[in-house]
């Protein structure tokens, strides 16, 4: 796209994000176009990976789903309720269902509080009776000894252990959805593997649905069922994770894949797949937002914004000239197909 469109949305989903737009005022009447019309959906028990460079709007999307802050426009339907229409107490009531884990595990824990108090706080806020038993249960679930850690404070733990504590805190209210915002980016590879395994185990044990945000494609592939590749506030490509990596159709996805360092000395690192930097979200390029860095860009890319279309089973791309797939049909045709689909669904 990096473009717009909803061809990839499914009928039944736990969480459905449509035409999400998030803009921030930037002074001088200008706006930061952080997220510009993306649509996503998430079925129960699924892990959706959101991947892209810094500044592509992936974290903003995660936060907008949590209504932190509410998006500029668009709808976020969670269990049949549009969160963007809820306010005050009604919105608060939905919060225990959705939790978040942040990138920096140390700064997301209050350094002055004991671990047991940090984890018990959500329970006391909601007046749940389970108390200490529940705290011990989640601590044990994330692989920490409740007796040894309960009375200690965050600075006494390593980054990996702090991330376990954050995960325990997010689990304590039995949420349905957890949004993980780069939970392993600040960790060493060895600890990263522990946390990824732990998230998989917790997902199975507590029947969670995860949104996993990261910039590392290898990490995202490992944990996700479906992956959305984002670029400058738009979705580029959307597919099942094995399918996406087997045959990336969007030039941006291919470039991202090419920049993963391979732990093999015989693979000479190829010259970096991508040149230049992300354009400013204050003034995004016309047409396809990726065209300024795209090796396949043509005139059409500057004039017309690509629309998400299906080019394989469950594989969607927003590109006029995708790799290994035919050129996109004219815009009107795609819009008509979208409208037909919308009319057909109840």
């Amino acid at each position: 796209m990096a473009g717009t469109g909803k061809a990839h949305l499914r009928r039944e989903s736990l969480l459905r994000v449509e035409d999400l737009v998030v803009e921030f005022p930037a002074g001088g009447g200008r706006k930061v176009h952080a997220v510009s019309g993306i649509s996503l959906d998430l079925c129960e028990g699924e892990t959706l990976g959101l991947v892209g460079e810094s500044g592509c709007g992936k974290s903003t999307t995660g936060k907008a789903i949590m209504q932190l802050p509410p998006p500029t426009s668009g709808s976020i339907v969670f269990q049949g309720q549009d969160l963007t229409k809820l306010h005050g107490e009604d919105l608060r009531r939905t919060r225990p269902q959705m939790q978040m884990i942040f990138q920096d595990p140390i700064s997301s824990l209050n350094p002055r509080r004991k671990i047991k108090d940090i984890i018990r706080e959500p329970l006391s806020i909601w007046g749940r009776a389970e108390g200490d038993a529940k705290v011990d249960e989640v601590l044990e679930a994330v692989g920490l000894d409740p007796v040894a850690v309960a009375d200690r404070r965050p600075h006494q733990f390593s980054g990996g252990q702090c991330q376990r504590i954050s995960i325990a805190r997010s689990l304590v209210l039995d949420p349905k959805v957890i949004i993980c915002d780069e939970p392993v980016s600040a960790l060493d590879v060895s600890v990263q593997a522990q946390i990824l395994n732990l998230l998989e185990d917790m997902k199975a044990r507590y029947q969670l649905t995860l949104v996993f945000i990261a910039h590392d494609l290898a990490v995202v592939k490992n944990i996700s069922d479906r992956v959305a590749v984002m670029y400058l506030g738009k979705v580029c490509e959307f597919a099942g994770s094995d399918e996406l990596y087997r045959q990336p159709h969007h030039p941006y996805t291919a470039a991202l894949l090419a920049s993963i360092p391979e732990p093999n000395p015989e693979v000479r690192p190829s010259a970096a797949g991508l040149r230049g930097e992300l354009p400013s979200p204050l003034d995004p390029p016309s047409g396809c937002r990726f065209r300024t860095r795209c090796p396949r860009a043509q005139d059409r890319c500057a004039e017309e914004e690509p629309i998400v279309r299906e080019i394989g089973d469950g594989h969607f791309v927003a590109c006029h000239f995708p790799l290994g797939a035919p050129e996109a049909p004219p815009r009107e045709e795609l819009l008509r197909a979208d409208a037909d689909r919308a009319a057909a669904s109840p």
Partner: protein, 393 residues
């Protein structure tokens, strides 16, 4: 100021000529640019002495790249700062051992002498480009500072040199950048600026301490390419420090793996990946998620965490987390043993890929002594991994 420094430099030169051991090495045996011999850097702390770097020996020739790999807390950053002599004086027990840079022992130099070496002879690129640049000084002045101080360039010459440097590190519109502040640049651009500063005075040794950890994958590839290109063009020695074996794999001539302040395996890059002997190196490699594996592949994480550097275990420091560990490993610390090819060394009693190692692993599997097996919540070893281990063994 400049004259005083010149006088000092002259004096040092005279001193050096007068020293008998400063004689050039015999022909044929070219001296390595950097030679580290049994370096120990300890810190005083309220809990006791922290053995951050504990007997490291390494060497690096001009034009070569040395990759140093290890987890947080393995001592790789302290090692690089010991080489640069950038450690806090108040808590550091004076480092012992030798760090020979072109024949001079850096550990014996005074601060004044070090100032002539920093930037001119050896330079460093740090992990976080935002905190290593001064936020209230324009990019231009941060680059020209070293040029003016060390190379005594005029203001205009230094400015021109800075533009050339910014161009060579791939920064568009270099003239405009000179008047910008660090916060006006993206993370990748800032790291390019710190590289330009490090390269400004043409150092012979560049130490890059996790230069890409704070950056995106795409930018990471760009920065690593840039470092490699500059190293080739300038025939510098490069020390590349990272926690990710993937980063150093295709870009180093030699790789040293550190654990608990010691080098546990050291080999030319190709050897290390093809004939690794140290279980820790194997574990590090296996914990990297690979795009070639299908999604939801169980990762083989390393159980537990690195040891406390105040109370180090008696035997092999990796034994508590090692799937190969036997009684001997807990009792007796392995020395650096020669590997299958010259230049390959490792510290292990039951090395990977040898009959002893294989039987040790099998024994542990039979007796259920693989770390993490007894505590499935902490680190479950799933059945498929066990099968894999068994089939390997």
């Amino acid at each position: 100021m400049a004259t005083r420094r010149e006088a000092r430099r002259h004096q040092r030169e005279l001193q050096r000529l007068g020293e008998p051991d400063a004689a050039p090495p015999p022909a044929g045996a070219e001296r390595a640019l950097l030679e580290i011999d049994d370096l120990r850097t300890w810190f005083r702390s309220p809990r006791g002495t922290v053995h951050a770097v504990d007997g490291v020996s390494l060497s690096l020739e001009r034009g070569k790249t040395l990759g140093i790999v290890g987890e947080s807390g393995s001592g790789k950053t302290v090692l690089s700062r010991s080489i640069m002599r950038l450690l806090p004086r108040s808590t550091t027990v004076h480092p012992t051992g030798k760090v020979l840079f072109d024949g001079r022992d850096l550990l014996t130099l005074e601060t004044g002498e070090l100032q002539d070496i920093w930037g001119e002879e050896m330079a460093m690129v740090f992990q976080d480009p935002m905190t290593s640049l001064n936020p209230v000084v324009k990019i231009g002045r941060q680059i020209t500072e070293g040029l003016r101080h060390h190379l005594h360039m005029s203001k205009n010459d230094a400015r021109e040199a800075a533009v050339a440097l910014l161009t060579s590190v791939g920064i568009p519109e270099p003239i405009r950048r000179l008047n910008q502040y660090p916060h006006e640049l993206s993370g990748g651009m800032r790291q390019r600026v710190t590289i330009a500063i490090a390269l400004a005075c043409g150092p012979r040794l560049l130490i890059a301490d996790e230069p890409t950890t704070a950056l995106d994958v795409t930018v990471q590839a760009q920065i690593l390419d840039l470092l490699q290109k500059q190293q080739r063009e300038r025939f510098m020695a490069l020390v590349l420090i990272t926690h990710d074996l993937g980063v150093v794999a295709g870009r180093s001539d030699e790789i040293a793996v550190m654990y608990a302040g010691k080098v546990v395996e050291r080999a030319p890059a190709y050897e290390l990946f093809h004939q690794m002997r140290m279980p820790y190196t194997e574990a590090l490699l296996k914990s990297i998620p690979r795009v070639t594996n299908p999604s939801h592949t169980r990762l083989q994480a390393i159980v537990g965490r690195p040891p406390d550097l105040v109370n180090l275990p008696k035997g092999c420091k990796f034994a508590p987390r090692c799937p190969y560990a036997q009684e001997r490993c807990v009792e007796e610390e392995p020395p650096l043993l020669p590997g299958p090819t010259p230049g390959h060394e490792f510290r292990c009693w039951f090395p990977v890929g040898t009959p002893e190692g294989t039987s040790a692993l099998q024994r542990n599997l039979r007796e259920g002594r693989i770390p993490g097996m007894d505590n499935p919540a902490a680190q479950p070893v799933p059945p498929d991994v066990l099968e894999q281990l068994e089939s390997n063994a």
